[in-house]
């Protein structure tokens, strides 16, 4: 597949053909091939581009090219008031939108030195975990699609709907709730929400069992994912991996437990799941367990929901005092942090967003070296990124 002769006449083409034949006859000369995976490719679910240099089907070098979906949120946040920013940052990780708002609001609260009432904190945590479920549920189905089984993703869409319905019932928005406020929440929960949510969680647990049998237990799935894309803990930490990706490499590190700030995870009975292998299967397995764990957490949160107000006393027009704050939380995709610099205006002076997927994808050049083309897809799928979360 070399470049064709540039608009050549018959004679030129003949000479080129002869030369090509001579080369092949002298020695079988192979040359590498550059395969562009993306920007428009089903496996990148968005517009990520992977430039892979191949030798046959083996990858010699691969490089992710990001920025096709850059929307400039950090800059846009500077010309919006604090309450308006949440509308923007909802769209960073669009599958677990509510979780995006939380660290930013917490950072703003830190600067303003207000604390949300207890009830607001509990509901915040419940919605935070629900958005994790909504996000990771889709991953569980999508991972199966990446290795060729198309049915599980329909189950994922079916059961994610139950969670989205609950998020919609509470917040009014299915994908972009924009519900979190500095000092609390926009509204209290509607009546009967807790009971309905528990029903939905039961369905999610059923879904997890189903996925366990249909996907995780499948021999072909295991053959495709075990030992593929192994990330040693040291390398993973070096590349700044976080979330389930690093926990699948055996690193017991979860901000919900290790550095709780403003969320009430420390008052719940749950555990952090890790897997020693660090391969694609381990990443799938850890996420599956975390989804179950999240349903358990939401159950406890609903049972222990304290009464009281949902909004602290904050001024009508929010002016954040000058200062700097960095808050990071354990989002569905990994650690997400907001570094907010305020000069005492209506709008933040500077917002730096640390999104999980950007770091998670940055390991691909190291990880894809030497694998085969089908494994590129498995590895990309198991690293689990959302394009909006990479490019912001």
């Amino acid at each position: 597949m070399t470049a064709a002769p540039p608009a050549a006449g018959e004679q030129l083409r003949y000479i080129a053909g002869q030369a090509a034949d001579a080369r092949v006859n002298l020695e079988i000369e192979t040359e590498g091939m550059t395969l562009n995976i993306g920007p428009q490719h089903p496996a990148t679910h968005g517009t990520l581009r992977i430039v892979a240099k191949l030798d046959g089907e083996q990858v010699i070098a691969a490089e992710p090219v990001m920025g096709y979906m850059h929307r400039g949120y950090e800059k846009l946040a500077e010309v919006r008031t604090y309450p308006q920013v949440t509308t923007l940052i909802n769209r960073i990780d669009w599958l677990g939108s509510f979780a995006n708002e939380v660290p930013f609001i917490l950072a703003a609260e830190q600067l303003m030195e207000v604390e949300a009432p207890l009830r607001a904190q509990w509901i915040r945590t419940a919605l935070f975990e629900l958005s994790r479920i909504a996000n990771v549920t889709l991953f569980l189905g999508d991972m199966a699609v990446q290795v060729g089984a198309i049915t599980p993703v329909f189950f994922a869409f079916r059961d994610r709907e139950h969670v989205l319905n609950q998020i919609e019932a509470a917040t009014g928005g299915r994908f972009h709730p924009n519900f979190d406020r500095i000092g609390g929440l926009k509204d209290d929960l509607p009546a009967g929400w807790a009971a309905e949510t528990k029903q939905a969680l039961k369905k999610i647990r059923n879904f997890c069992d189903q996925i366990e049998e249909l996907v995780e237990g499948n021999e072909i799935f295991q053959a495709r994912t075990r030992g593929i894309g192994v990330i040693p803990a040291k390398v993973g930490l070096g590349y700044g991996l976080s979330g389930a990706n690093i926990r699948a490499s055996g690193v017991d590190w979860d901000l919900r437990r290790d550095a709780p700030c403003g969320l009430v995870h420390d008052q719940l009975d749950w555990r952090v799941w890790t897997h020693p292998d660090g391969d694609s299967f381990a990443r799938f397995w850890v996420r599956l367990q975390e989804t179950r764990e999240a349903t358990r957490m939401v159950d406890q949160l609903l049972d222990g929901l304290p009464p009281g107000p949902i909004m602290a006393k904050v001024p009508r027009i929010i002016k954040v005092p000058a200062g700097e704050a960095y808050v990071e939380t354990e989002n569905p995709l990994g650690i997400m942090g907001y570094y907010v610099v305020s000069k005492g205006d209506l709008a933040p002076f500077r917002v730096k967003i640390r999104s999980a997927s950007f770091s998670n994808v940055s390991i691909t050049p190291w990880l894809l070296k030497g694998v085969y083309v089908p494994d590129i897809i498995t590895i990309l799928g198991s690293l689990y990124f959302i394009l909006g979360d990479i490019d912001r």
Binding site: V145, V147, I150, F154, R158, I220, R224, P374, D375
Partner: protein, 343 residues
């Protein structure tokens, strides 16, 4: 059919055969697309599938065909135009040649060939050439990789397919498809002839190997590495659009139907139902219906697997063929041969 046809001129016979052949390819293909691809899969995936076109969505396929025919037939600029355009037809030729050996009743067949199954296995390989043509001619890296993978896979799985058939041929003592049906109708299972001898019982190993190899020959999941839509973006079909894509699509499902029919003839007794006299004239009418039911049943298995399993990687499926299926098929031949001589 031969009896009726005997009084007609050669050209009349041929035209009737061509028309019936078209029907025999397209009716099962359409049925499979509607029953399995549209409905069965939808129910598996907790959705309804097409519901609007015709009662219960039954005319959806016509709508799809109409859509594909209207679409622009795009040929990539750097494509090898002739090869690119001819490839879908080469794939279809293989399907249409396959159907001629299928018997639909004691007198309802296209050709009565003593090497029937041999011919079928031979012409089924023609599709490889078409797929390679499509992969090479598209001038696309994804297509090329798909085409090469398909070729490697189809060649690897041809062997277990053929070896699985050998067991049946030993038991039936003929390669004539009609003869194989009659051998099952009149046969006995170790002395018991209650339901004849559908070879699926005595040749169950061969049947399993045949079904797995057939799944691979049809490049259906778990053996769909060549088309791998999440990875190679449907491989050798990537650059095709409009009518030519439709031809590939028809080829895929028609071949699934025809291969199911071959499996039904080899292992399930073809047009025969136990309890009736196989020489009965009734079977000339009933036979095609019985065969169709068996086709639907067997292709159900194909599509069930297709929509349940993830896909093997290229090296894994080669390993499955060479290290697992071929030795099993060979052992099956040995056991069948020994038992044939002893019993």
């Amino acid at each position: 059919m031969t009896l009726i046809l005997a009084e007609l001129a050669w050209w009349q016979q041929t035209s009737i055969r061509v028309v019936v052949g078209l029907v025999a390819v397209l009716i099962p293909a359409g049925t499979l697309v509607y029953l399995h691809l549209f409905k069965l899969v939808s129910f598996m995936q907790s959705r309804l599938g097409p519901m609007e076109a015709g009662p219960y969505g039954s005319l959806q396929l016509l709508a799809e065909v109409g859509k594909f025919i209207q679409k622009e037939d795009i040929v990539p600029r750097r494509a090898d135009r002739f090869v690119f355009k001819a490839a879908p037809f080469v794939v279809l030729v293989s399907t249409f040649l396959l159907v001629v050996v299928l018997p639909g009743g004691p007198d309802a067949f296209f050709i009565d060939n003593d090497l029937g199954i041999y011919l079928a296995l031979a012409v089924s390989s023609v599709s490889v050439i078409g797929i390679l043509m499509a992969g090479w001619g598209s001038a696309s890296k994804y297509s090329l990789m798909g085409g090469l993978r398909a070729t490697g896979q189809l060649i690897a799985y041809e062997l277990p397919l053929i070896l699985a058939v050998v067991g049946v041929v030993i038991q039936a003592e003929t390669m004539n498809m009609q003869g194989i049906v009659l051998a099952q109708a009149d046969g006995e299972i170790f002395g018991w002839g209650g339901i004849g001898n559908p070879f699926v019982i005595t040749q169950f190993v061969g049947f399993a190997v045949f079904m797995i190899a057939m799944q691979a020959e049809l490049t259906q999941t778990p053996f769909d590495m060549p088309v791998a839509e999440s990875e190679l973006v449907t491989g050798y079909m990537t650059e095709y659009s409009g009518l030519r894509f439709l031809l590939f699509f028809i080829g895929e499902f028609a071949t699934a139907g025809v291969f199911s029919a071959i499996a039904a003839v080899l292992f399930l007794g073809g047009w025969y139902v136990p309890g009736l006299d196989p020489a009965d004239n009734l079977f000339n009418v009933l036979g095609p219906v019985v065969l169709m039911v068996k086709i639907v049943g067997l292709s159900f298995l194909i599509f069930w697997f297709r929509f349940t399993f993830p896909r093997f990687r290229e090296d894994q499926l080669q390993r499955l063929a060479w290290k697992f299926l071929i030795p099993i098929a060979l052992a099956n031949i040995v056991v069948t041969g020994v038992l044939k001589v002893l019993v």
